[in-house]
Structure formats: structure tokens, C-alpha cells
């Protein structure tokens, strides 16, 4: 019944994410101006008056900072999801093999992680490791682990109870081979869809952490810190607060559309 909507969702998701990725990659080679270059005399100029999107409190070019920020956000989010997904999947798959206490331990661990508000644990982590990209990646990944662990555990248990897998067990195949030959390929779709959606959430969380000053160190621009810096300039320079937020919104939107679009494409029944 959502057939009419399915393709537009996928297309919109692809469009937004492709735009984000290409801007991010482009920023590695070219930005209108060096994103860190200051021109104090040109501070707080509105869009079009100085550069395409105006300048910030140091006279830096906002458009260049947004582009460079796209790369920083995207790469941090991808690293975090990769780390969280691989750890979580490993735990989930392992728990499905051993069941019993291993499974209980993994589930209990997930509960513990979920019980503490993520921002607070991220702040403790940052106080411990010092703020920076590594800290942000670890903090975000920490909350991805239980998501993927639960997902793979649930999926894997279903697969393990299928007749042909039980036959394979009967043939004496080692569990790790069954996991890689039968279980993983069957739940890969779900993992990919989930990873795409989580990528959006990771960008959102990274922005939150940077907003609190726990993200990458300056001069590397991040959307979250741009927002935090903009907070006191809300009256005199509203574009500084509006633009990075729009960038975050569109990126997260892109990934969640893409994730849903992929889900519809890979597994039409799930929707």
C-alpha cells in the first residue's frame, strides 16, 4: 500500500545522502576558502555579503566550514557505526551460538548501557579521555553496540532454529562456520538497514556532543560546535545558528529515508 511512496523515499534518501557525501569528499580537496582562515575585520557578515553563506565571529567563511564540517560529522559517524555495529554483531552472533549465560550476560549488558542517559555517560567518558574525535567515536559506538547486539541476537536465533541449520548442526559443522555460512548472510539485510538508520542518529549524537564541547578539537569545524558558538550570536547573526542545524537536519533525514527505502527494497514484508 505504500508502494507509491516507496521509490520517492529511496530516491529522496539517495539524493540527500549523495549530496552530503559528495560535499564532504569535495571539502577534502576544495572549499571556497580555507575553513580555518580568520579575517577578524570581516566578522559576522551576513550571507551573500561576504562569501555565499556569510562569516562567523572570527570572519571565517561559513560555507567552507559547513563543507568541512560535513566531512568531520560523516567520518566520525561512520567510524562510530562501524565500530558499534561490528562489536554489537559479534556479541549478538556469539550469544546466539552459546545461549545460556552468554546470552544473559549480553542482554544484561545491553540493559546497563540503556539505563544511563547516553549524554551523561558520554560526558563521563569525555572527562576521562579528554574531548576529541576518538572520544566521540567511542561514546557513540557504545550506544550502537546494544542496538546491534539485540538485533543480531534476535535474528540469529530465528535462523538457528530453521530446519536446514539444524541439519547442518547434525552434520557436525562447527558453530562459527554455520554463523558465517547461514546466519550472517540471512540477517545481513537487517544489519545494513539498521546501520543506515543508525548513521543518521550517529550524526545527530555527534552534533550533540560537539555542541557540549566534547567533539573534535578546533580548528576542525563541526556542526555541533558551530551551533554552540552561534548561541550567543542568536540576535546579531541568526544565520550562524540556522545553517548548521539545517545541515544536521538534512543529513539525518537523508539517512533515515535511505534506511527506510532500503528496508522496503530488501524486505517488502517488513514495512
Amino acid at each position: 500500500m505504500r508502494a507509491g511512496l516507496r521509490r520517492p523515499i529511496l530516491a529522496a534518501g539517495l539524493l540527500l545522502t549523495a549530496g552530503l557525501v559528495s560535499l564532504a569528499v569535495l571539502s577534502l580537496f576544495w572549499t571556497p576558502r580555507p575553513p580555518g582562515q580568520m579575517q577578524i575585520a570581516m566578522r559576522l557578515k551576513p550571507p551573500f555579503e561576504q562569501g555565499l553563506l556569510g562569516t562567523d565571529q572570527f570572519g571565517r567563511d561559513v560555507a567552507s566550514m559547513l563543507m568541512s564540517g560535513a566531512w568531520n560529522s560523516l567520518s566520525t559517524a561512520m567510524a562510530a557505526v562501524a565500530l558499534g555495529a561490528s562489536l554489537g554483531c559479534a556479541l549478538g552472533l556469539g550469544a546466539a551460538v552459546w545461549r545460556g549465560w552468554a546470552q544473559a550476560l549480553v542482554l544484561r549488558g545491553c540493559d546497563i548501557v540503556f539505563a544511563v542517559p547516553p549524554i551523561l555517560s558520554a560526558m563521563m567518558l569525555a572527562a576521562f579521555l579528554g574531548p576529541g574525535r576518538g572520544t566521540a567515536i567511542i561514546a557513540i559506538a557504545t550506544f550502537m553496540v546494544p542496538v546491534f547486539a539485540r538485533l543480531t541476537l534476535g535474528g540469529a536465533r530465528q535462523i538457528w532454529s530453521r530446519p536446514y541449520v539444524e541439519a547442518a548442526i547434525g552434520m557436525g559443522r562447527p558453530p562459527w562456520r554455520i554463523t558465517f555460512l547461514h546466519v550472517l548472510p540471512n540477517i545481513a539485510d537487517q544489519i545494513i538497514v539498521q546501520a543506515t538508520i543508525q548513521l543518521g542518529l550517529a550524526i545527530l549524537t555527534e552534533a550533540g556532543l560537539s555542541f557540549l564541547g566534547l567533539g573534535m578539537a578546533p580548528p576542525a569545524p563541526t556542526w555541533g560546535r558551530m551551533l554552540a558558538d552561534a548561541q550567543t550570536f542568536l540576535g546579531p547573526a541568526p544565520w550562524l545558528a540556522i545553517l548548521p542545524g539545517l545541515a544536521i537536519l538534512l543529513s539525518v533525514l537523508g539517512f533515515s529515508l535511505l534506511g527506510d527505502g532500503l528496508r522496503d527494497l530488501l524486505d517488502p514484508r517488513a514495512s
Binding site: R108, I112, A115, A207, G208, G245, V252
Partner: protein, 316 residues
């Protein structure tokens, strides 16, 4: 069912204990201690040692942990190092802001999500469904703290209708308090509303085709009435489940939103105690958050039993 609930409770208590040990250890390992923060940069080593003795910071970690734990079990949450007052009072003070804020956010989220979700289900596939779907996508992608900034920009900076933040407590009157909390509650509510809209739509849609709705229609109820009277109550189960799941996100979002709106809530207390290395306050607040999340989830389970006749039958 009861034993299942009990087992879950025991498991959760164990989780809480693990969380508390973790926090205590991590806070202890963090650079800086409350005594040196309180005494600043001119203090001599002997002054520092005197204060550490006074606060009991010279005792070994396990001893401090056990005495805190013993206190908590007997209902004493301990004393704040920095404020020098009982933590229970500090938390209670902050709750007069955080609870109404969360309640307002949930109320706003539900009052937006349910009509939109039901409407989208009723007209599924149509333009309204599409628009509402778009709204929910946007809402989920919206960073609450940024939305808060935009609300301040529009309603406080440009229009001057609302305070830009801060909360003077309820002593200035109910209206003033509600006014101070309105914008932050909206900022918190929107992403939740987006999620709940989607859940409502799906759940109502799942039930529209079921026999009892068809029967209701046959009995002469209008389409709208049939949905509201039959499909919607069944949809309450997934809605409350989602609300329970989202609760921890609501709490987490509150930390950032309190920051943007400068509200002296529980989240700010946690951040402050972290920066002052006030271990006891940090412990209590985090544990309180965790206990809150867990309680809400247990309550959601109970609501399921009440609302969903099928579950009740299974449980019985």
C-alpha cells in the same frame, strides 16, 4: 507473568548495582577531586589534605562506596561535597522542574501524535498521509537542542513573547512557571511526537482490517467512530511501548534542552556535579535516572496487561 516481572526486577536491581560501581570507579579515576576544585589555585598541600580528611576523601574507594551504598539502602542518599547539603533535597528541588517539563513534553507529543497518526491511517495513501509522513521524518531528524535555539530566536529574540530561558520556580505563580517551560517542552516534544505519530499510524492501520472493526462498521458505526472506538484502543499497546522506550531519549534530550534554555533541572545538576567531581550527587542522579527509566518500562508492561485482553489471557 508475575514471576516474570519479579525476575526482571531482580535483574534490573543487579544492573543498577553494576552501574553504580562503574560510576563510582570512573568518577574516582577522573582527573581532579572535589577538594582541590573547592580550594582553587592558591591552597597549600596541607590545606588540601585537611579538606580531604574533612570530606572523608582520604578513605579508600571501596569503603566510600560501601558507606554510600549502605546509606542508599537505608534511604539516605548522602551529602553533596560541594553544596554541603543532603542530595535528596537537591534532587527533590530539581524535580519540581524536570517532572513537569517531561510531563508537558509527553502531553504535547501525544496530543500531536495521536490525531495525526489516526488521521494518516484513515486516509492512508492520500495526500494527508504523505504530509504527515513527511512531518514525522522531519521531526525524527530534528535535533531538539537546535529546535530549541530556533524557538528562542523566533519567540524570544524576534517577537519577545517568551522568556529566553531560566526558571524562577513556581513561587512566581503557576502561569509564569508554565510559560517558562512551554518552549523547552515543545522542543523536547517534537521529535517524540514524530516517532509516536509513525507508531500510531502503523498500529491503527494494522487493526483497521481486523474483524472487530469490520463488525463495528457492519453495526452501523461511522468509519471515524469505528476507528476511534475499536482500532485505536488496540493501538494503545504499541504506543505505550514506544513511549516507554522513548522515555530514556526524552531524559537524555532534556539534558541538552535544559542547557539551551538554562533550566536548573536534573540534567544540569548531573553536568554540574560531574564538573565539580561531586561523586555522591552524580551517583544519585544517574541512579535516579536509571531507576526512572526502569520503572517506566515496568509500568508499560503493566499497562499492556490492562489494555490488551490477549496478553491478559496469556498471563492468566
Amino acid at each position: 507473568m508475575i514471576t516474570l516481572l519479579l525476575r526482571r526486577l531482580v535483574g534490573l536491581v543487579v544492573s543498577l548495582l553494576v552501574v553504580s560501581v562503574l560510576i563510582f570507579t570512573v568518577m574516582d579515576l577522573l582527573p581532579g577531586d572535589p577538594a582541590s576544585i573547592m580550594l582553587g589555585t592558591s591552597a597549600s598541600p596541607d590545606t588540601l589534605a585537611a579538606l580531604q580528611r574533612e570530606l572523608g576523601l582520604d578513605r579508600p574507594l571501596p569503603e566510600r562506596y560501601l558507606s554510600w551504598l549502605g546509606g542508599v539502602l537505608t534511604g539516605d542518599l548522602g551529602q553533596s561535597y560541594t553544596y554541603g547539603v543532603p542530595v535528596a533535597g537537591l534532587i527533590a528541588e530539581r524535580l519540581t522542574l524536570t517532572l513537569p517539563l517531561a510531563a508537558m513534553a509527553i502531553a504535547i507529543a501525544l496530543s500531536v501524535a495521536i490525531p495525526l497518526g489516526v488521521e494518516a491511517a484513515r486516509r492512508h495513501g492520500g495526500v494527508w498521509d504523505f504530509m504527515i509522513g513527511l512531518f514525522s521524518y522531519l521531526g525524527i531528524a530534528l535535533p531538539a537542542f537546535w529546535f530549541g535555539l530556533l524557538l528562542i530566536l523566533l519567540f524570544s529574540v524576534r517577537l519577545g513573547w517568551m522568556p529566553a530561558g531560566g526558571f524562577s520556580g513556581w513561587q512566581e505563580g503557576f502561569a509564569a512557571g508554565m510559560q517558562a517551560l512551554l518552549l523547552p517542552a515543545i522542543a523536547l516534544a517534537l521529535p517524540q511526537a514524530a516517532v509516536l505519530t509513525r507508531v500510531t499510524r502503523t498500529a491503527v492501520l494494522d487493526n483497521i482490517g481486523e474483524d472487530f472493526v469490520r463488525t463495528a462498521r457492519a453495526k452501523g458505526l461511522g468509519e471515524g467512530a469505528a476507528i476511534w472506538r475499536h482500532a485505536f484502543p488496540a493501538a494503545l499497546v504499541p504506543i505505550t511501548t514506544m513511549l516507554g522506550l522513548q522515555f530514556s531519549f526524552l531524559v537524555a534530550g532534556a539534558v541538552l534542552v535544559e542547557n539551551v534554555f538554562n533550566l536548573p533541572g536534573l540534567g544540569r545538576l548531573a553536568l554540574q556535579s560531574l564538573s565539580q567531581r561531586d561523586v555522591i550527587v552524580m551517583q544519585d542522579v544517574v541512579l535516579f535516572f536509571a531507576a526512572l527509566v526502569i520503572t517506566v518500562n515496568v509500568l508499560v508492561d503493566l499497562v499492556h496487561l490492562v489494555v490488551d485482553p490477549r496478553l491478559r489471557r496469556e498471563a492468566g
